[in-house]
Symmetry: C2
Subunit: 433 residues, 2 copies
């Protein structure tokens, strides 16, 4: 019987995260304090994030960072996740390419987000924090943080982008089952929210806005820290367990990827799967192509500018050097709520600028077509975000079909779409163009 | 690091299903033709079911039945499923008991139902069938059959119990993504549906009714066979992969269960996890206790009568010897739609009658309390059906806490509840009593 899944037992969960900053030929430019225009320090960041995450954020020297045993133990609930050969998809496409996906949808909350949520909640607890806040788009990150907070005995308050709160009510319910307080953003509970609602009473919300609210709440609440599900370096660091496992699993499959693909919102699942492989490009040992797949309606990588910008709408964060559409960019209401963010993380921005990776953008319709093809051939209904990665994989596989090249393609299935069925309803009804 | 998951690689997927009928000290009484009152034959059943499933249904002699390679290959998409030690739950309860669960929720459609759907669709395809029909309650079985039909190139028509169709709209969408035609039942598309709606225009639907409609459609459509997600012997046979894997995995954990628990609708997940262990009770080698957990609102095992009854509301099926509440029993609209069935499978009914297993019933509130405790400690939001098994496991674990006994408890987590969040909303809002 041909092998479908390549598994690693839980004692193979990586012991260290891979910090790509240590290996980057050109390091990311510093984050700046918006007042003084000086590089922010660990001290500055620690006002907002917990101290250990602040240290990891600015660490440009240590290639490997220990994963605490308590975090690995929680990873063992669902890791190592399977690497799967997509035979069904390959056959449906008639491609000579070999397609693999790393299945992060088997996490109990349904996406890769738990990889960083557990780490952030753990460090907060260690440092005596009692409350955490965050923002969430589609709700994948909010669900992950809500569970991670419960695991380590913290209270969680989540601002969810209003349009997603309404489009995906089940995600709110999931967060509530885990005991979190969930507020649709923009809300009247913060100054940032009030300002936005005063200007635009029907504001649908965006990640930039929700970040402003969560940051403000964290700053105003003693014992409370802010946590983030993407964009920041330490988040992507935690996600490297994805690529580190995948590297070992590709070895088990006896292949090495020619192309590695992730969908792109802030960069955490893309960086998670890509960075461990990219280190072999830096060393000249390999020549893998890396593709970030983003929505055409929020095309920061393909059409944004590389410049210093705020991470949030209100301008509460440090200035970040990144590809951005502007911190007041209002993305349209696509179903892939997790990709509706105006900027890219600083590491990815630098790597894109320096030519170490590519970006492509997709219209919604093509992504749902890809998602349905995947569902019908592999059985898993993918998250609308992950559909972007699948669409990119299908494009590459079809190019192989034309050229006859037998490339090995690896993508990250960042999450399942069982909470996003309303979006599929829209697609099946012909309402997505 | 303590081991959380006990995994088997896909080459350990069982090669044979376990047919408990061969080992039962008292065989199940025969199904009867309602007209002639004679035992039904393979020939009789083959009018409705595919031939191979009909043979398996009546096979009381072969202990082991080969799993076709093509089915095993599809099982490999998600099997072997993990056996998980519920350390988090144990600690929350403060029990000396060791609690394990077999996690069938990792199946791509979210429940154990795919184990039989793939087998039934495969045999139909082999026998030249082009269309399959079925009924579904909560939609777990319908989703499984829809995907399995797509895999083997069959068309699927699913009658979904109306109350579940309305309470859980995402499941309908999942079936539609897989290409199935989904109709809420009772419907005006069949004579059985019309009769019921004429008598009771606001009929909320039940599994018994939906079965009548699916059976009628199968009988009226050339090239079409009926398939079923529970109750029948061949369905439970296919589900024994659960218990056969669990048996090997308990060995890896170095334990043997004192108690094995499954929630109970028609008996497929209960039989799936219980029967492979029960054979060691028959042989006298072990003395495990088996508990079927059912809803207090549909208590066929704890309060039903053992007698011949129809499997459906309209009386289209053979007469089955079973514990039943009567084929016209109207269960209340509990959220565990998969457990709203009036009767138990003939094998389980005989085993219960002969004292080889126990049954307990639970009010909805206790099951959702159990589900939330499980979600917060193990991270997985369980299906409302599975919450019954968890509630039973918690009761047993708390008894161990009182008595100080260190029992080993194994239950089947038959599915996740991510599509059932509306039910959790009701519970969190205090609307479930």
């Amino acid at each position: 019987m041909r092998q479908k899944k390549f598994m690693l037992s839980e004692d193979m969960i990586p012991q260290k995260w891979y910090n790509i900053q240590a290996d980057m030929p050109v390091k990311p430019m510093p984050m700046l304090d918006p007042q003084t225009k000086k590089p922010v320090t660990v001290e500055d960041l620690s006002g907002l994030f917990c101290r250990e995450c602040s240290r990891q954020e600015l660490n440009q020297t240590d290639r490997w960072i220990d994963i605490p045993e308590e975090v690995r133990q929680r990873y063992a609930n669902y890791r190592c996740t399977p690497l799967v050969r997509a035979y069904g998809l390959e056959e449906a496409l008639g491609t000579p390419a070999h397609i693999y996906f790393k299945n992060e949808s088997v996490s109990p909350i349904g996406s890769h987000k738990l990889n960083s949520a557990l780490a952030q909640a753990y460090y907060c607890k260690q440092e005596g924090v009692t409350n955490v806040t965050t923002e969430t788009g589609a709700g994948q990150w909010g669900a992950a943080l809500s569970y991670a907070a419960k695991v380590f005995g913290l209270e969680a308050a989540v601002y969810q982008v209003k349009i997603s709160y309404e489009q995906k009510p089940y995600r709110k319910s999931i967060m509530q089952v885990f005991g979190a307080l969930v507020t649709p953003s923009p809300s009247m509970s913060t100054r940032a929210g009030k300002d936005i609602l005063t200007r635009t009473p029907n504001h649908q919300g965006s990640l930039g806005t929700a970040i402003s609210e969560a940051v403000e709440l964290a700053r105003m609440t003693p014992g409370c820290k802010y946590t983030l599900g993407s964009v920041m370096n330490h988040v992507t660091l935690h996600q490297t367990v994805i690529g580190l496992e995948a590297e070992k699993q590709m070895e088990l499959a006896g292949e090495y990827p020619d192309i590695v693909i992730g969908c792109f919102g802030g960069g955490s699942n893309f960086g998670g799967i890509a960075f461990p492989f990219m280190r072999h490009n830096f060393s000249g040992e390999r020549n893998t192509r890396f593709i970030a797949a983003e929505p055409a309606s929020c095309p920061k990588l393909t059409k944004g500018r590389f410049e210093y910008d705020f991470g949030d709408e209100a301008g509460y964060t440090p200035l970040l050097p990144m590809f951005t559409l502007g911190h007041d960019f209002q993305p349209s209401n696509i179903h892939a709520g997790g990709l509706r963010y105006h900027g890219a993380g600083t590491i990815v921005s630098q790597l894109l600028k320096d030519g170490y990776m590519d970006a492509v953008d997709f219209e919604q319709k093509e992504t749902f077509e890809a998602g349905c093809t995947f569902a019908r051939t592999e059985g898993i209904i993918p998250a609308p975000e992950s559909c972007h990665a699948i669409a990119a994989a299908i494009r590459e596989a079809l190019e192989c079909k034309e050229t006859g090249q037998k490339k090995t393609i690896l993508f990250c299935l960042s999450g399942h779409g069982l909470i996003d069925m309303a979006a599929y309803d829209q697609y099946l009804a012909g309402n997505i163009h």
